[in-house]
Symmetry: none
Subunit: 503 residues, 2 copies
């Protein structure tokens, strides 16, 4: 059998498993958007039986045979084929190296963990949740060991979301970021404009949901989201799921926080544009899946922040905004609106954070995760460590664990190593943005004309089309001509916020 | 192994397959309610891979072993166990006698067919759709042959939806019905009241969709539909899918046809109540699935017609209706409203038909299907044959195929043999209703008080709870004490419409 036909057969097997995965993703979307309250048990049974089918498809022995053959003849492969094989190997190892019994136990533990967390958060009871978290940590370490990361379980957790990423690399990047960002953040927060920004944001009240939806539909469509290949709905927590020609994002509306739903939707639009930019024919292979969560977050952040919070964006959309909300916007000047759009205020809650302080929330979590995995921090000492770190990073100390260590869902089902992607995404977005401005100095004039086509075309070609051929760090190097560095993020924040707050 | 534990193991296997089937059903619901226009191919690929998994689950050799063992020890089984085994055998034969490749191709063809139909209908292009229909017909005939119905493919299509049903039985029932119904329908249509009914119905205009939705939510909830275990959405073609605790119905709204969406929703509510009445723990076995499509239609028709078009129902809901639509209802008296609710007018479109002429739409389709399968009619001649039959049954000839042969979705994915269930359902509904009135002569007084609980409880016990223990014809015999006959339907129509039109 030629390499060519072996590759084709491998791709068919890989895509078979991937499609079952996308059905699971649709079940998950439906669960959060549509599922009747009384149908949770029935849905859980559907998930379970689909997971069985997916596991069988992903661990089919034929995949192993094809991989072994292709890996032996590696020098006969071109770059794309090599990328396909590497990604298929990665997926196959994850599907086959974990004992069935372990997978089953971990799924049960994940589900228990979620409910234990929800209960602990409601009751502000960290002590009751600690044993579950301890067990999640042990499961993560066992999983890492099964996959050959026995000595470096946290590297495994990072690599799981971002192929090739290591704790050492993140440590260096975050250390540098923290050093430069903390003083900038403190200066911004101390400025009189910070108080004024909060005051203006607080005046944005009573925005009817219908008109909010209409506005964000117009905006997201104009940014380039293709509604013939995707949709937007409402869910409790905003997210984006699906890929290729069926990309589904969600948002949520509050009448007194109209900017939240808008920027939430622009954020998800960034994720959605990435997924819509992947070639449908290659979905599930290295040529048709995203490069990792950090690159994914870079796309959501770039559209939300670099684009959506810019002067130029609002120059083109403010008139329409005032037209849709004539009464609500009446007492707010353009400068005030721009300040509200770029309000900075340290908050205890990560998901409410602005784009300056958000990064510090992530550094905090990374440092704690790293210590937990290194055995330098015990689970029972997490709340205290969180308080100390929160005071250092944000200048705020949570009065209880609900606003501290219990606020995020991620650790409850064992999703360690995910948080860093958020901040790495911000760094990548800023570095891509710096490159874009070099290549097209007039990009903001495009935005003033509601024209985002050059930016989208550039991202399509340079970021989306490569799919998973390269790791995020490698792709950044290729696209921007330099190693990933926090420098661009700090410079971008200094430029945008310095003018508003320190000018 | 005891029969008991063998049955338990069989049930586990059967339910595993059934759950994968319900995921497929959810994909189908999503396709008609949510799917972005550009995602059809991607969805077709998901259907195909899920169909493979479903096929593998339903044809697991272990099921065959368990069945063989249980069938040998048949005398050791109780009635419920025997019903479980018989249904599992039926499913297993259908799963194992169809080659995997055939199943895969048919799934893709079904999804493509749906989109081809939607396109053809929009463009009034039967010629473009004919090859798809021809292929669907061939798929159906091949499927029948695989299942041992090589000589009687249309019997197979009927049996598929209603176990045990034959073309000969339907032919006899429909022949008798047509004989008695055609003169009744013609007399009604010729009556002066028919003109008045149409005139009143035509005056019902400009009913806002929001208020229509509100009214039908209130009505369907009051009938007994449990919205914590189901939902209602909008789709091009109303339907009900799902089972147990996740039952999803759809409707569609037109401002100038407010009764259509209402009765459509009551119709789907009948389906939904049946599915919600099946025991969740037994879903997928003979003790937890409906008795067949004719029985299913009897439930939708009973709630739509015997209940929803009654004087008593409107006595209780008319005040609320006038409250929600004060302007639109102002010029319409109660008697006029009742006449409009029971307007009879031959129409080209089946789904717009009244309950008198509806049956003739079905007889028309049955006669064409029968001829298609017997090779007495070619696909290309369908539009002409449709026009001839339409003139005979309804006295109307469609000016184009959108209002003729292209109007229905059913054939587009190969669902032949389904139409007869609608008319059989009307017959069963009328026969059940005659029984209900014997048992509870004051049932209409219940309705006047918005109390539908006795009726629902009776249906739950006598029709829903038996699930698939008996065939539809057998269940009718048991519940009503006589064989199914068109007599009750004709008598019911004569009583209700005779008074209004011929009195």
């Amino acid at each position: 059998m030629s390499n060519n036909s072996t590759i084709s057969e491998l791709v068919a097997w890989v895509q078979r498993a991937h499609r079952l995965g996308t059905i699971g993703e649709l079940l998950g979307w439906d669960e959060q958007v549509n599922l009747p309250a009384g149908a949770a048990e029935q849905r859980a049974a559907q998930h379970a039986v689909l997971a069985e089918s997916l596991h069988a498809a992903a661990s089919a022995p034929r995949i192993g045979e094809l991989l072994a053959g292709l890996e032996q003849r590696d020098d006969g492969l071109n770059d794309d084929e090599r990328a396909i094989v590497a990604q298929a190997r990665r997926d196959y190892n994850r599907a086959t190296k974990l004992p069935t019994e372990f997978v089953r136990e971990k799924a049960i533990q994940g589900s228990r963990g979620y409910h234990a967390w929800a209960h602990a958060k409601a009751q502000d009871d960290f002590a009751g949740y600690a044993p579950v978290l301890q067990k999640n940590l042990e499961f993560a370490q066992r999983e890492a060991a099964y996959l050959g990361y026995g000595g470096a379980p946290y590297d495994y957790m990072l690599d799981k979301h971002d192929p090739g990423l290591t704790a050492a690399a993140v440590d260096r990047l975050f250390g540098e970021l923290k050093r430069d960002l903390l003083p900038l953040m403190r200066a911004i927060v101390a400025s009189p404009a910070a108080t004024r920004a909060r005051e203006v944001a607080g005046r944005l009240r009573g925005f009817p949901v219908d008109a909010q939806l209409r506005f964000l539909r117009e905006v997201t469509e104009r940014l380039g989201f293709d509604y013939t290949r995707g949709r937007i709905d409402v869910s409790l927590h905003p997210f984006c799921s699906g890929t290729g020609s069926d990309v589904r994002m969600t948002t949520r509306f509050k009448e007194d926080h109209p900017l939240n739903s808008l920027f939430g939707a622009m954020h998800e639009t960034g994720h959605g544009l990435y997924e819509q930019g992947l070639p449908v024919a290659q979905l599930g292979t290295a040529l048709g899946i995203h490069a990792g969560m950090a690159m994914h977050e870079s796309q959501s952040r770039l559209w939300e922040n670099q684009v959506g919070r810019s002067r130029a964006f609002w120059r083109s959309f403010e008139p329409r905004w005032r037209e849709l909300f004539p009464v609500q916007s009446a007492g707010v000047t353009s400068d005030e609106l721009h300040l509200a759009v770029n309000a900075v205020q340290p908050t205890l809650i990560r998901v409410d954070a602005d784009e300056v302080t958000y990064n510090l929330h992530i550094v905090l979590r990374f440092e704690l995760e790293k210590k937990l995995f290194a055995g330098e921090l015990a689970v029972r000492d997490l709340p205290a460590a969180w308080r100390v770190a929160s005071r250092e990073m944000l200048g705020l100390e949570p009065a209880n664990d609900r606003e501290g260590v219990l606020q995020d869902v991620h650790w409850s089902d064992g999703s360690f190593g995910y948080f860093p992607s958020y901040c790495l995404g911000n760094m990548i977005a800023a570095q891509l943005w710096a490159r874009v401005r070099q290549l097209r100095p007039g990009i903001e004039e495009d935005f003033s004309r509601r024209d985002f086509s050059w930016l989208l075309a550039w991202l399509r070609e340079n970021v989306h089309a490569p799919a998973r051929r390269f790791s995020a760090l490698e792709l950044v190097r290729r696209v921007t001509g330099e190693e990933l560095s926090p420098r661009h993020l700090v410079e971008y924040l200094r430029e945008r916020y310095g003018g508003l707050y320190l000018g």
